[in-house]
Amino acid sequence: MGDIPRGNRPLSPHLSVYKLPIAAITSIMTRITGQALVAGLLLVVWWLVAAATGPRAFATADWVLRSWIGYLVLLGSVWALWYHFLAGIRHFFYDARLLMTKPQAKQASWVLIWGSVGLTLLTLLLFVIG
């Protein structure tokens, strides 16, 4: 927007002067989780390519994937994936003009936060016992 002459015209205060409400934080988290979950996907894709390549390539990828840092990346990505999943469902509600009031938006935000944590723990439980 550098080519627009602003002169001395006053501009209204921008985002930085506001304390972000929970609905705004959970909204921006949608894009952050959308990008972050790719880390776990890349790890899994590398592991799949290694499995197709041969035993030595697989041994390396499998060691990384199942190291504590590999599991940490996977767990974080699974949470990001579930969060993004629930945020996508919230967009369907928004498109249907539902959950549009302030109290509902607040409630839906907490559903996203605790729902994503719950689904991540459920995934972890299924992985450990399965």
Partner: protein
Amino acid sequence: MRYITPRKAAKGLGAAGPGASTAHHWGMTVSSSALLILTPAFILVIASAIGLPHDAVAGYFSRPYPAIVTALFLIVGMHHYINGTRILIDDYLDHAERKVAIILSHLFGWAVIAAVAYALVRMALSPVAAVVVVS
């Protein structure tokens, strides 16, 4: 020096500039709907495969259900990623940087799809024993 006010300059451009329409939003809605089913399926498929020895992993992904779920999730998922990232780029970047970022996001998404396609096809076509013997 243009004597146009910022408001006048922005009017009619919409959030993503001229040419933007609801087609992008509809595309995201369609891919989201597909991912509503594919995401839990993919998580379960991968969770069952992690921890298996090499020949069992290769054998598992040469079966139809794990292979098709993995392929569909990553193809639809990266398509959704490319289109979603487009909005992120439109919001934060301008000019040449924006164009380069859009191109890079496409290259990245398709590279991931190609890698998965290669892995699945190779595991499906090579008998498990041959995979072990070759390398």
